[in-house]
Amino acid sequence: MSVATPAPHPTGVWSWITTVDHKRIGIMYFVTSIFFLFVGGLEALIIRAQLWKPEQALISAETYSQLFTMHGTTMVFMVVMPMAVAFFNYIVPLQIGARDVAFPRLNALSYWLYLLGSLYMNVSWLWGMAPNAGWTGYANLTSTQFSPGQNVNFWVIGLSILGISSILGGVNFITTIVNLRAPGMKLMHMPLFTWMTLVTSFILVTAMPVIAVALVLLAFDRFFAATFFVPTAGGDPVFWQHLFWIFGHPEVYVLILPSFGVISDVIPAFSRKPLFGYPVVVYAGVLIGFIGWGVWSHHMFASGLGPIADSFFLASTMIIAIPTGVKIFNWLATMWGGSLRLTTAMLFAVGMIAVFTVGGLSGIMHASAPVDLQQHDTYFVVAHLHYVIVGGAMMGLFSGFYYWFPKVTGRMADEGLGKIHFWLAMIGFNLTFFPMHMSGMYGMPRRTWTYAAALNVDIYNQLSTVGGVIFGVSALVWVWVMLKGVRSGAPASPNPWEAPTLEWSIPSPPAHYNCPALPRVRHRDPLWREEDRAAIEAVTLSVPEVEPEMPNSSFWPIVVAAGTSATWMLVMTGRWWAPLIGLAFTAFGVFAWAFEDPFRKKS
């Protein structure tokens, strides 16, 4: 059997700006999210330096507020989410045997909105006016009365742009997964990563509009003197909390479910065993997506909603731990009796289970309202959320990185360096965040720029700071792994891990059209069934006589993204007609887009 060599594909900056290829857009998402990982990481390290000693004044309280606000906002919206979307983009079409996503140009639009929204929010640093009201932007701290500067404006507008990007991305991936599966592939044949992408996309499409409205209301308060969150006019600051967390808690599952998906693919591949209880893992993921909508007020136990509301959200929060626990047992049972290969990808997957469980357990602790009242706004919560988001989401994404690196680059990553990355990350991560449980228990408040010497939490803070530096170094090692792998990694075969799913049936890296013809899928782990594998590879590894027709590259997504972003940014001028300029520009782009034929032959 001959292995296809990918057809030549245009290169150069322009070809990337106008690309509609899901694989290139995936790579752009990934690289951009790594850039912001270092921005957010730097912010965290400055925070850690300031907290090295009690009553220290390395930076001002105002700068500190900007740092923790931007650290949270950056890591959630500009790092973890887009990095997961990078994997959705690159991997999902390959896993379901599609040529591209359903709406390639819309996909490019999502990316450019992400980039512009993120840059816009960070540009505020140049004037020292970065957002400073916390990543949750609680009312009425964000009112013009208490935040008269431009800081919160940057936050409202930047986040709105990012929200549009996420909604469009969600629409695109739902359609892709529902409609573009290879012939024969039923929903219950899909790899778990594709499944979790589907659930995540549903959450994005339904949760993002809620924060969009919250941001619109806040924008009207700030720019047009509306009274939504002004208590003297009858506005209710707690209403903001409800809107924010009705979005915010499903958002937590947007962060974690992609990682669940990754390791549900990685663990079977490196245990040489099909996923234990596949349907249960799928249903548990879907169930998490649903129940995730009914737990939001556990973020508001300290807001005084009353015993009935508190009891309800206490119970629902404990219930949602069940499907999550089910998944953990399924992963363990998959490994049980399997022939394990402890590659870097597998190490990160196993590591994720371990540290995520710690975060899950502390989560169940403050699911209890009375306990939460003790822990609220202390470093204990900071420890919990980082165990979940870094330990759960990021470790899973690291695992996915090592797993799919050969597929994307056509080269193997250095396993030795990868393991150094793993151990440095694990040690650094735990050293940073475990002591925060202690400092929190002793009463150290979060979001406060320094702490009293009398608290006696110096040692925990110093451990956290040392851990933070080690974690930072591990990120540098990671970048080294990438650069070294891309430049001089050993060439990768189509299926270097002997994994069972469809993305491993095509050459590494894939041709720009992915597969010459659509393969027929009849089983959940097609490449582990000899006759299926032979039939599929006969199609996917062949060289087509005529290349499949792919959509042309397009300039209009970046035009529409610029127009949409400009519309929002011009709101900041406070003149009602200014956004109309951006709107006109957007309309121009939309019309050009609508009348462009993506399959027109170039002469």
Binding site: R99, I167, T175, M185, T206, A226, F228, A233, G234
Partner: protein, 194 residues
């Protein structure tokens, strides 16, 4: 207007455009649902007038509601015209939708100016804030629909809307009906149940 999804095999047999648009409408439901909830939460919170019962004009808005409902009927007939390849029918009914949409917007413009005259503004009280933002966003959606359908009308006039392109009219119709249904919810909850 076709994308990769339409160009190839699809799992459900439905065009991707349709599935994508239904998904988008789901998202819009949450958007308007949240805006309507905001209005309901703040229904009795205003600390100074004008209050809803003082300014809302049910008979007048009933007329504009009727106009918008009729536009949905016209939309159905326009799609039927396009599907059957009857250009005259298609153009006539598309024009009717556009005109009815504009009439509705005219009513809204009158209502807004009248309210401002009565002292109700976005800044005045919570009723003003939540009323103008909710109905304003609805009005923006109607306007987008009017522009969209006008474009289709021009295409039809130029003979560029054959039955094979009926999908693009159907999608525009989905949008238009959705915006119409949202208005029914707004009319019921804001005007009828005060």
């Amino acid at each position: 207007m076709s994308d990769a999804g339409d160009h190839h095999y699809t799992s459900t047999g439905l065009p991707s455009w349709k599935i994508g648009f239904w998904t988008f409408i789901a998202s819009e439901c949450l958007f308007f649902g949240t805006l309507i909830s905001t209005y309901m939460v703040y229904r009795t919170s205003s600390v100074q007038g004008p209050f809803p019962h003082e300014v809302l004009n049910i008979p007048l808005t009933s007329i504009s509601t009727f106009v918008l409902l009729m536009s949905s009927l016209a939309m159905v007939l326009a799609l039927d015209g396009v599907t059957r390849g009857n250009r005259k029918l298609a153009m006539g009914w598309l024009a009717a939708v556009v005109v009815l949409g504009l009439v509705f917007l005219g009513f809204q413009a009158y209502e807004f100016t009248h309210f401002v005259h009565e002292g109700l503004t976005i800044q005045r009280n919570l009723f003003g804030s939540s009323f103008f933002v909710l109905t304003g966003f609805h009005g923006v959606h109607v306007s987008v629909g009017v522009i969209w359908l006008t474009t289709l009308l021009i295409l039809s006039a130029r003979g560029k809307l054959p039955p094979e392109k009926a999908l693009s009219v159907e999608i525009a119709g989905l949008y238009w009906h959705f915006v119409d249904i949202v208005w029914i919810a707004i009319f019921t909850l804001i005007y009828l149940i005060q």
